[in-house]
Symmetry: C2
Subunit: 454 residues, 2 copies
């Protein structure tokens, strides 16, 4: 049994490990375009901030017992009929790899920006280890004092934090009216303030259109009179699936050009599986496929593909879009659907925000937690939650309580039934998660009562 | 509608608030024996450590709009036939309170120790606000330099932390062979080390039998040659339900003398409800009633009793025994059943301990988390989990992810399906909760494989 895997990041390596675990006799081969198997791409900002001095420590793992990792092997074509993959290598030229089962785990790449001059020296896209080496080299050599970051999503804001950590003055240009558009503007505005509190200049509603070289400086201009000079530009405006290889082999394509796959990670073409950022993702709450590339999902899907390639029948239960990010001292998390997303998909969402201390105020160090609960007025079901609080306030695992409740399709009202832990320095007898749900219920009941009286 | 509540702690006040919320017309009265409605008894160690300077801040709340709180009103007898409660008051002598619905929320009290001399001055039991004032007064006046704590459960160990914080030398006498017997000895031993690291002397396997006054000192002796001199003794050897009032009224009694109640918190006697530490608790995992007094449970049961007294039909979904405690820099948590408990109740439990970092090691500040997963070999179901890690490692909300999974009767293998949050400074692509479950599965499969080969 030859299990061939194209891509050695989260999905590919998870698949390889799982396949080897369930069938140690299988011949598992991973084709890796670069030299960095299973590196934590999410860790790049920490490497570039200087907090992670050695890039080698970004490897999720360095031991791959029983798995053949082929570094510098770029897959160029899949021959479905012959069940082979053509591979271009520096050392041995073109090689053909036969397979019994094949996984496409080619990931995603940065969206190429619609900005003139984005290929100028000093302008960077950040996605691969190679990208980050280039940025690192530039930081060391050119010693930029001022950087503009175009894009105010996770990577953009983590890099704003990272470059500030290095003592660089940072300007963030956000296309949306508040940064971090993955959460509601109420939170995005607070994240913007947190950035400014740490010296970052935040410019919203900016469509950057042009970068030009002016002497030793880069000049960026954009909508609403945005004009900035700097020595470095980082562009992080989202990712798109690396689907070409699959598409050319005849695999189906869905949302945003991502490869089609079912919940067993089967592509529809016999013996070919798809997992991770190159493919679509089953959304548990929406019961439909979406494009939602996340490292956590890639790990899960890879593991399932690996198990199924060895004869398993495991299904991916679905994503809830659970995400968390730390920006300076603030942690922001979400799971499930926002009000506008739930609206779009035909729910009757209603969102209530509550603020509570993360633990009993009489114990030192209590800090406010903001919780936004979105529930469905038609069914009372929890649809989503967003949390924001200080680092140390257990924001990320509190969103996970919501995520676990969502996974089980709980009603907002029933969250109070959960037997959650309590000790005064860490929570309240009702956890903030539960208090926020009670507050949602009370608000909804009050509004319903008022409507009945009108 | 007169809703009378005996007891103004967690259960009583939760019931009152909920009753008033669902039926603002109801006449809600709380009979409070002391002067401290809805105080956080769990906060007493923090008051006594000096971390909570003002005891008044221990009140969970101070506003009770729409609820009549009668302070210093001690219920002495319930007349079921007449539907009245006899109350002894300092100001107005004996008063009779009629009720339509009655809630008994009389809580629990400390077990009286089987130790000679436990009533000597300088020896304290700690359960009520009044107790804590006495301890506080003694700490201020007698300025003890050395204290012996008898009992190594939550209160005992939190007080060891608190008195150490005050600069007092502390000796803990534990009856069990490791402290904090509510978790496995593997964890208890580490907690013991944490205590010693902070200067606490830990003596295990000690049955304290006698306290005597020797000059200005108290002398305590116990089994295994335990002999200690000190200026203060704190005894915390557990609690028992305050059930007398209910028992004398003819209510049924179950586990450990606790009042019987069903999942609607009905006592069996018409119009009388029971909630909190004076009654039994439905255990969700065991599907039976147990005695498991916890503040979180009291809040839930009170809320349900309050809703049902107003005509509701809500059921208490059950406790999982979720608990957490912070001892110095260590946080220890559990939910569900330990191996020995699961054994006792007829499961086929198997426990696997794993150690992982709380977040990616390449980000500063990663600390080890120890996770003990207990699953059922017969069904694969999760039965319980124990976690230990440093304060800040989100131990308490990680146990809550387990608790939420347990609530939904998840299989250990399925925990990997949960869409939990990830960012390098706060977790891993598989959260430690999931890695520990994967480790349980791998271990179980390996053992099964080996057994098949024998």
């Amino acid at each position: 049994m030859r299990f061939l895997i194209i891509g050695g990041s989260d999905a590919g390596i998870s698949a390889a490990l799982r396949a080897h675990e369930v069938n140690p006799q299988a011949e598992v081969t991973v084709l890796l375009e670069d030299d960095f198997p299973n590196y934590s791409i999410c860790g790049l900002p920490f490497y570039l901030s200087g907090e992670t001095p050695d890039w080698k420590s970004l490897a999720h793992r360095t031991e791959f017992d029983g798995i053949a990792i082929r570094r510098g092997y770029r897959a160029t074509r899949i021959d479905i009929a012959a069940k082979t993959v053509e591979v271009s290598t520096a050392e041995s030229g073109q090689i053909s790899f036969p397979y019994d089962k094949l996984l496409i785990g080619t990931g995603a790449g940065p969206i190429q920006p619609q900005i003139d001059g984005w290929r100028l020296p000093g302008v960077f896209l950040l996605h691969t280890m190679k990208d980050s080496f280039a940025v690192h080299q530039y930081l060391e050599d050119a010693k930029p004092r001022r950087a503009v970051i175009i894009g105010a999503g996770y990577i953009g804001l983590e890099m704003a934090d990272a470059l500030t950590h290095r003592g660089i003055e940072v300007i963030v240009a956000s296309r949306t009216s508040s940064v971090l558009a993955t959460v509601d503007p109420e939170f995005g505005d607070s994240v913007g303030k947190e950035l400014e509190r740490h010296g970052v200049t935040v410019c919203t509603n900016v469509d950057a259109s042009k970068i030009s070289q002016v002497g030793n400086q880069l000049h960026i201009s954009g909508s609403h009179g945005f004009e900035q000079d700097c020595e470095m530009v980082l562009i992080a405006v989202g990712v798109k699936p690396n689907a070409t290889l699959g598409v050319e082999a005849g695999l189906g394509v869905g949302q945003k050009g991502a490869l089609l796959t079912n919940r067993r990670m089967e592509s529809g073409v016999p013996d070919i599986y798809v997992a991770g950022d190159c493919g679509e993702t089953w959304h548990k709450l929406l019961s439909r496929y979406v494009y939602l590339p996340l490292g956590t999902t890639a790990h899960k899907q890879g593991r399932i593909a690996g198990e199924n390639a060895m004869g398993g029948q495991r299904e991916f239960t679905g994503s809830l879009g659970t995400q968390v990010v730390k920006i300076f001292d603030l942690v922001i998390a979400r799971t499930g659907l926002r009000q506008d997303e739930a609206d779009h998909y035909g729910f009757q969402p209603f969102t209530v925000e509550s603020t509570m201390n993360d633990h009993k105020a009489y114990c030192p160090g209590a800090t406010p937690l903001r919780v936004r609960v979105t529930g469905d007025l038609a069914t009372g079901r929890l649809l989503g939650a967003q949390l924001m609080g200080k680092w140390g306030a257990e924001v990320s695992k509190r969103i996970d309580v919501f995520a676990t409740a969502l996974f089980h399709a709980m009603r907002v009202d029933d969250i109070s039934d959960l037997d959650l832990s309590y000790t005064p320095p860490l929570s309240s007898p009702w956890d903030p998660v539960q208090m926020a749900c009670q507050s949602w219920n009370t608000t909804v009941n009050t509004i319903r009562g008022e409507r009945q009286h009108v």
